[in-house]
Amino acid sequence: MTTYLFRRLLQAIPTVFGVTLISFLIMQAAPGDPVQIMTFSPTFTAEDRVRLAHELCLDRSLVEQYVVWLVGDLRGECQMRGIFRGDFGESFFERRPVLELFLERVPATLELTAVALLIGGTIGLFVGVLSAVKRATLFDNIARLFSVLFDALPQFWFGLLLIMLFSVQLGWLPVGGRFPLNKPDITLLDRARYLAMPSFVLAISWIALMSRFMRAETLEVIRQDYVRTAWAKGLEPSKVYFKHAARNALVPIVTILGPAITSLITGAVVIERIFSWPGMGRLTVDAVSSRDYPIVMGSVIFGSLVVILGNLLSDFLLVAVDPRIRLQ
C-alpha cells in the first residue's frame, strides 16, 4: 500500500513540473512587457524601469527567469522567493501578493463547489438508483432524457434563464453576489438565497453524470447474490436498494471523482462570472482580461494542483476500497 502511494506521488512530480513549464512559456509568448504594463504612468522614468526589471529578475536569461520563478533567486539580488516557496509574485494592478488574493477568494469558490457537489450528488444518487430499479419505465426514460439534456445545456445560458425567471421576472432571488452588502447581520437564509441559483446551475452536469453512473452501477449490483439474500431475509425495498445495493454501487464512484473535480472548477469559472460570485474563477477571468500575468500564472498552477490532487485522491481511495489494485 505505502509503496503504491509513494510511487503515485513520485509520478505526480514531473506533471507538476510540466504544468509550471507550460504556464511559464505561455506567459513568455504573451505580447506586452510586464515592466511596461506596471510602469504605464508617465511618472516613471527609464531608470525606474531598469530598476524594476532588475528587482523582478526580468533582466536575466529565459532559463534563469524560469528557475527564479520556481525556487526564487538564490543569489539574493531580486525579491522573488519562487512559487515553490509560496511566492506567486505581486498583482500588477492591486499591488498585493497573488497568494493573498487567492486565499481571500478560495472560501467563496469552495462554498459554491461544495454545495453544488452536495446537491448534485444527492439528486444524482437517488435518481440513478431509482432509474435502475424502475428500469425501462416512464421514470427511467424521463430521468435519462434529463441526463442527456443537462449535459447539452450550456451552463451559462441555463444560468441566464434562471436569472430572468427568478430575479428579473419574479424577484425572488438576487441577481448575483455572495451576500447582501447593505445588511448588518447576514442570516443563513440570506446566504442560501444568494447561493441557490449558482450552486444549482453548477450542479446540473454533476447530476447528469452521477445519475448515469449510479444507474449503470446499480444495475450491475442488483443482480448479485447478496442482494437476493437481502430480499430473502424479508427486508423492505428501500433498505435493499439504498442500504445494500447503493452502497456497493457507490464504490467505483471514486474513479469519476477526478474528472468531476475538473469539471466543477471549470464550471465555477463560467458561473462565478454570470452570478458575480467573488471566487477564484472570477478573479481569473478578470485577471485574464486585464492581463494581470502573475494572477493568471498563479491560477493555472492553482487549478492544475487541484486537478492533480483530485486524481491522486481518486487513486488512493480506489486502492483503499479495492485491495486487488495494489497487486498490479
Binding site: T15, V19, A29, P154, V269, R273
Partner: protein
C-alpha cells in the same frame, strides 16, 4: 464504465459477436457484411439517432445556406443596423425580432451556426488525427519517446482546459480557424492515451505476428492492420466531442475570449443578450441562441451515443 476499461476487440471478434446476435442470416446470404455495413445497419434501425441526424442536417443546411435564406426568404441583411428598430419583438418582418443594433435576430442566428458547427466538426477531426498519430507514435517507438509523450499527456490532462483556452484566447485574439486548431492542440491527449494502449495490446496479436512473418513492413502493418482496428474505438471515444466543442466555444465566446465581434456565433449573441437582460424588450434575445446551442448539442450527443451503440456490440 469508461471506454478505456473495455477490452480491445478486433474486427473479426466484433463480427463474430454480431453474428451471434441472430444476424447469422446476413452472413449466410453470399458475401458477409463488413464491420461498417453492420454498424450502418444497426444505426439505421435506431430511430432516435436517425431523428437527431435529421434535425442536425436541417440545422446544418440552414447554416450553410444562411446567405441565400436571409437574402431570398427573409429579405434581410444580417449586418444591417437600424437604430430606429432596436429590440423589436418577433414580427412578420423580423421573425425572431431585432437586437440592440436593430439587426435581424434570425439571420444572425443562421450565420452564427456556421462558425459554431464548423469549429465543432473540424476541431474534432483535427483532434482525432493528432490523437491517433501521436498515440501510435508513442506505442510504436516505445521507451523514451513513449515516456516523453506520456509526460506531455499527463501534463496537459492536469491543466483545466478552460484556463488555457481563456489565456490563449485573451492574449492572442483568435480567429475561428485558430480557435479550432487550439481545441485540437489541447484535446488530443485522451485519444492518444486510448490509441496507445490499444496499439500496445494489438501488437501482441497472432495476426500481427503472421503479418510480420509474411514479410510486411512495420508501416504497412500499422496502416493496414492497426489503424482500421483503432478507428472504431476513436469514433466511440470522440462521438460526443463535437457537441462538447460547440459548448466550449460558446462558453469561451460568452466570456469574451473566443470568436471576436463582429463575427457572430451563438455564444457571442448571448453575451450581448446578457448585457441587456434588464431591458424588458430585450428578453427574447436570450432565448433563441441558447435553444440553438442546446438543440444542436443534444442532437450531436444522441448521434454520438447512437454511433457508440452501433459500433460496440458489447454494450447491447
Amino acid at each position: 464504465m469508461s471506454v478505456q476499461n473495455l477490452p480491445i476487440m478486433s474486427r473479426q471478434e466484433a463480427l463474430l459477436k454480431l453474428a451471434e446476435e441472430g444476424r447469422l442470416e446476413a452472413l449466410r446470404e453470399g458475401a458477409p457484411l463488413s464491420f461498417w455495413q453492420m454498424a450502418l445497419r444497426r444505426l439505421r434501425r435506431d430511430r432516435l439517432t436517425m431523428a437527431a441526424l435529421l434535425v442536425l442536417l436541417l440545422i446544418t443546411l440552414l447554416s450553410v445556406g444562411a446567405r441565400f435564406i436571409s437574402s431570398q426568404v427573409l429579405g434581410v441583411d444580417p449586418d444591417l443596423t437600424e437604430i430606429a428598430a432596436t429590440f423589436k419583438p418577433p414580427s412578420a418582418e423580423h421573425w425572431l425580432g431585432t437586437d440592440a443594433l436593430g439587426r435581424d435576430q434570425l439571420a444572425r442566428l443562421l450565420f452564427g451556426g456556421r462558425i459554431s458547427l464548423a469549429i465543432g466538426f473540424f476541431g474534432t477531426i483535427f483532434t482525432a488525427v493528432f490523437g491517433i498519430t501521436i498515440g501510435m507514435t508513442a506505442a510504436y517507438f516505445g521507451r523514451r519517446v513513449d515516456d516523453f509523450i506520456m509526460w506531455v499527456i499527463n501534463t496537459l490532462d492536469s491543466i483545466p482546459q478552460l484556463f488555457l483556452l481563456l489565456i490563449v484566447g485573451a492574449l492572442f485574439e483568435l480567429s475561428p480557424a485558430a480557435l479550432t486548431l487550439l481545441f485540437a492542440l489541447l484535446g488530443w491527449p485522451f485519444i492518444s492515451r486510448l490509441v496507445r494502449s490499444s496499439v500496445f495490446s494489438l501488437k501482441e496479436r497472432e495476426y500481427i505476428s503472421a503479418a510480420h512473418a509474411l514479410g510486411m513492413s512495420d508501416g504497412a502493418i500499422m496502416w493496414r492492420h492497426i489503424v482500421p482496428n483503432v478507428i472504431p474505438l476513436v469514433i466511440i471515444a470522440t462521438a460526443r466531442r463535437v457537441g462538447n466543442l460547440i459548448l466550449a466555444e460558446s462558453a469561451l465566446s460568452f466570456l469574451g475570449f473566443g470568436v471576436q465581434p463582429p463575427t457572430s456565433t451563438w455564444g457571442t449573441m448571448l453575451t450581448k443578450a446578457q448585457q441587456f437582460i434588464l431591458v424588458p424588450d430585450a428578453r427574447h434575445l436570450v432565448v433563441a441562441p441558447g435553444v440553438m446551442i442546446a438543440l444542436t448539442v443534444l442532437c450531436l450527443f444522441i448521434i454520438g451515443d447512437g454511433l457508440r451503440d452501433a459500433m460496440d456490440p458489447r454494450l447491447n
